[in-house]
């Protein structure tokens, strides 16, 4: 029982509140809702109690007619509830739109969910399991994908939640405001050990974060794996070397705009790279035939993520070739 007090106090003083950039905005709506709803519930309850006592069977209280016709009361009530509802709708929608739009300068981090662990990659290829180190004050853009079933990446202290849906990449963002360790839960039921698919976000001061980054070495990093896979799975056979007839070079591809065979253009971002590995036929580079086989099924979500990390840092070699005709 002695943990109840801090537990309830925690709701009010907000040991979690203010841990993330978006948190205070969510809490402001939550507590306005709580105060409004409690007031309404107590008012209705008090009125009912008053009626129960005053108009109990046998009481001598007069039973007056309502002063106004019924439809008058109904109109007032409908108008009042609608106005309150619309206000909360508007407030919630505004903050939701902020949640959906990562601020400029957000650092990308890839999160792969699988039964039952969080497999996390930083932009530089550093890899963590069930933990995510971030510097305070730096917006982080999460790119979430799943290898098996639907998971949900939830950080209650940050008021953050986003499902990981197999077959697509979903996006979320946060910015930690205070150093600390904040639990990650999987909020979407995902099988036997669903309740053990936990982790934590370790938010550190920029200095501590740099120190941590310097300590961790690049042994089993995503980058190293990606480099290996690029050769092992035969990507290098066509995409590397001098012969440019079969496939475009990928050097310096990341971030550029690619001309497509159908006349369109597409920025070579993570989404495009992933798609081009999983379903190459969908958007063909101008000047090439759709000869590349799909690696969907051959390569897992993790493998593709590693390859993308590798491709991201391939520097432009000599002249631009990927978009040449």
């Amino acid at each position: 029982m002695n943990s109840l007090a801090p537990c309830v106090l925690g709701m009010i003083d907000g040991s979690m509140a203010g841990a993330s950039r978006i948190g205070p905005a969510v809490d402001a709506i939550f507590w306005s809702l709580t105060i409004t709803c409690t007031t309404v519930a107590l008012a209705v309850g008090a009125y009912i109690a008053w009626c129960l006592v005053r108009y109990r069977r046998g009481s001598a209280a007069p039973r007056p007619r309502p002063r106004w016709p019924e439809w008058w009361w109904e109109t007032i009530w409908i108008a009042a509830t609608s106005v309150i509802f619309l206000a909360f709708y508007w407030a919630g929608a505004r903050v939701y739109l902020r949640m959906e739009e990562p601020p400029p300068g957000a650092v990308p981090v890839d999160v792969v969910g699988r039964q039952w662990m969080w497999d996390i990659r930083h932009a530089d290829g550093r890899r963590e399991f069930n933990a995510l180190h971030v510097p305070v004050g730096q917006p982080i853009q999460l790119r979430l994908s799943s290898e098996d079933v639907i998971h949900s990446f939830a950080v209650p202290a940050f008021r953050l939640k986003q499902d990981l849906v197999p077959g697509k990449t979903t996006v979320a963002w946060f910015e930690a405001m205070r150093p600390g360790r904040y639990p990650i839960y999987c909020d979407q039921y995902c099988g036997a050990s669903h309740s053990e698919m936990n982790g934590e976000i370790v938010a550190e001061t920029p200095a501590d974060f740099s120190a941590w980054a310097a300590q961790t070495r690049d042994g089993n990093s995503s980058l190293a794996r990606g480099r290996r896979l690029f050769v092992l799975d035969g990507c290098a056979g066509c995409h590397r070397g001098a012969d440019r007839r079969r496939a475009p070079s990928l050097d310096g591809l990341y971030g550029r705009t690619v001309d497509l065979a159908d006349g369109g253009h597409v920025p070579a971002d993570d989404e495009y790279l992933r798609e081009s590995i999983a379903s190459p036929g969908r958007r063909i580079v101008a000047g090439y035939a759709a000869t590349m086989p799909s690696y969907d099924g051959t390569l897992g979500v993790t493998d593709i993520a590693d390859l993308v990390v590798y491709l991201r840092q391939l520097k432009a070699a000599a002249p631009r070739v990927a978009s040449s005709r």
């Binding site: 109840l4 969510v26 619309l86 949900s152 197999p166």
Partner: protein
């Protein structure tokens, strides 16, 4: 209403023919209601036992009693059985079947044989589901999300889905029967705006049963095919879309929430007027609110998917519509409250249950606003806040209303009175136990405890212990009615035709009514709830 005509020699429906065969081949809506009552009470016991085991397990954060796999099967069993084999059939098939024809002055429902068939289909679905449970259970959760259910889940998903699939056809048959009954079999003079609000609620519920259930059937069939044959449209590895499943599932399952609450609202309208001895406040707007909840309920399914990666614009629209559907619910709370003013209120057990409904439904509805608010839902989605919210509606709302309605019409059903004091004690016990069980779960959810968690971090321990203690009180509350109803059935005082001095055609028949309800077709000449008004 006219006073009851003198009872003829016709024997009542219970004692007419006591053989088991006559019960299993009956087409009498009253007997079918009793068959349903026995069935859903059994399913309730099964599902409640699963809940009790879960609450017992959650006494400790580290899962000392069972492994996670068993826990997961328990909450699936609890959800599937409670939703499809108790909550959805509860008020419509028991109270609705029994009371609806009596309320509208009909001799039976429009298709009596279809009514019996629907019970057999329901039992077949129940049998398949019980088989799935006995054969090892299923660990998908009642929501059957893909690709977990179609590819990864353990256990007998096929049988479980088949059980629900089959039971769905019984829902459709019941809904169809009620719609046709209400349209075509009303007594002369019983116009639409003279119908009791319970009839309006059954009508609205039936519309949902008929229009939403087929979509569930198709969705479950697609899951079975995908799991069995490895072809389908949900698993991304087959090229499918898991969100398509969620859209189809919630297109049924959100309206299904209204299947589970609208009949309760109808019952409570009856109880409030009867025990306040006053006409319902705003009758027409109550009727129209019922209907509009049923229709708007079809347009809000996407609010279950705010964090699922559906489009942002879909989120904006579904959130707005979800607030919109709250307006008619708020109207109802307002009108029940306003009905009490100037009444002449007595505190029999049915009314205590109705008051409990009013309080718990209000809390459940208001916390629904939190979940309709987009940004707040992101934080609360899939946490215990949601669990608490829908239990306030489903158990606090529907089960309270079912209990209230059952107590109210018990004298008509059984021909006997139940003891007054124990029933009042049971109502209060259930109300207190319920709040103790589920209110802490709101706090747990706000603090971030995810739902369907077998093991949980120690900081959530205290609130879970409180919740389990509440569940024990709630359990005691649910056992009490079993005892005094059994006593009443055997030893209770014979009930008069109209023990509550209520209006309504059902109270003009003998208790219990004869086989075909009315000797002569009654003629209705006035509005419903014709209680003496203020200053009368």
């Amino acid at each position: 209403m006219n006073p009851a005509p003198p009872t003829s020699v016709a024997e009542d429906y219970l004692s007419r023919d006591r053989t088991l065969r006559s019960w299993l081949t009956t087409t009498d809506h009253k007997r079918i209601a009793i068959l349903y009552l026995i069935a859903i009470t059994g399913f309730f016991a099964v599902a409640a036992t699963a809940a009790a085991l879960m609450r017992w397990e959650l006494l400790s954060p580290r899962g000392d009693l069972m492994v996670s796999d068993i826990y997961n099967r328990l909450f699936t069993l609890h959800g599937v059985t409670m939703v499809w084999f108790f909550l959805i059939p509860s008020i419509p098939t028991v109270l609705g079947n029994f009371i609806l024809p009596l309320m509208i002055g009909a001799r039976d429902v429009a298709f009596p044989r279809l009514n019996l068939a629907s019970w057999y289909i329901f039992m077949a679905g129940g049998a398949i589901t019980l088989f799935a449970i006995v054969a090892g259970g299923v660990d998908t959760g009642w929501t059957f999300y893909t690709p977990y259910s179609s590819t990864y889940a353990n256990g007998n998903v096929m049988a479980m889905a088949a059980g629900v699939f089959v039971a769905g056809f019984s829902s459709i048959a019941t809904g169809l029967n009620f719609i046709v009954t209400i349209h075509t079999l009303r007594a002369p003079g019983l116009t639409w705006f003279r119908l009791p609000l319970f009839v309006w609620s059954l009508y609205s519920t039936s519309l949902i049963l008929v229009l939403a259930t087929p979509v569930l059937a198709v969705t479950l069939a697609l899951i079975m095919v995908e799991r069995g044959l490895g072809v389908g449209v949900f698993d991304p590895r087959l090229g499918g879309d898991p969100l398509l499943f969620q859209h189809l599932f919630w297109f049924y399952s959100h309206p299904a929430v209204y299947i589970m609450i609208l009949p309760g609202m109808g019952v409570v309208s009856e109880l409030v007027t009867t025990f306040a001895r006053k006409r319902i406040f705003g009758y027409r707007i109550m009727a129209l609110a019922t209907l509009s909840i049923a229709l708007l309920g079809f347009l809000v399914w996407g609010h279950h998917m705010f964090v699922s990666s559906q489009s942002v614009y879909a989120g904006l629209v579904f959130s707005l519509l979800s607030f919109l559907v709250s307006v008619p619910s708020a109207i109802k709370v307002f009108n029940w409250t306003a009905t009490l003013r100037g009444g002449s209120i007595s505190f029999d057990a049915p009314f205590l249950f109705a008051l409990g409904f009013l309080a718990l439904f209000t809390i459940g509805g208001l916390t629904g606003l939190f979940l309709a608010t987009l940004a707040v839902d992101v934080h609360l989605h899939d946490t215990y806040f949601v669990v608490a919210h829908f239990h306030y509606i489903m158990v606090g709302g529907m089960v309270m209303a079912y209990m209230g309605g059952f107590h109210y019409w018990w004298p008509k059903i059984s021909g006997r009175l139940f003891p007054r004091r124990p029933a009042q004690v049971a109502a209060i016990t259930i109300f207190l136990g319920f709040n103790l069980t589920f209110f802490p779960q709101f706090i747990l959810g706000y603090l971030g405890m995810p739902r369907r968690f077998h093991l949980y971090p120690p900081e959530f321990h205290t609130l879970n212990v409180i919740s389990t203690l509440g569940a024990a009180v709630l359990g005691i509350g649910y056992v009490m009615p079993l005892v005094y109803f059994a006593w009443s059935a055997l030893r209770g005082q014979p009930a008069p035709n109209n023990p509550w001095h209520a209006t309504g055609l059902e109270w003009t028949t003998p208790s219990p009514p004869p086989e075909h309800n009315f000797d002569r077709v009654p003629v209705v000449t006035g509005p419903p709830y014709d209680y003496p008004g203020p200053d009368a």
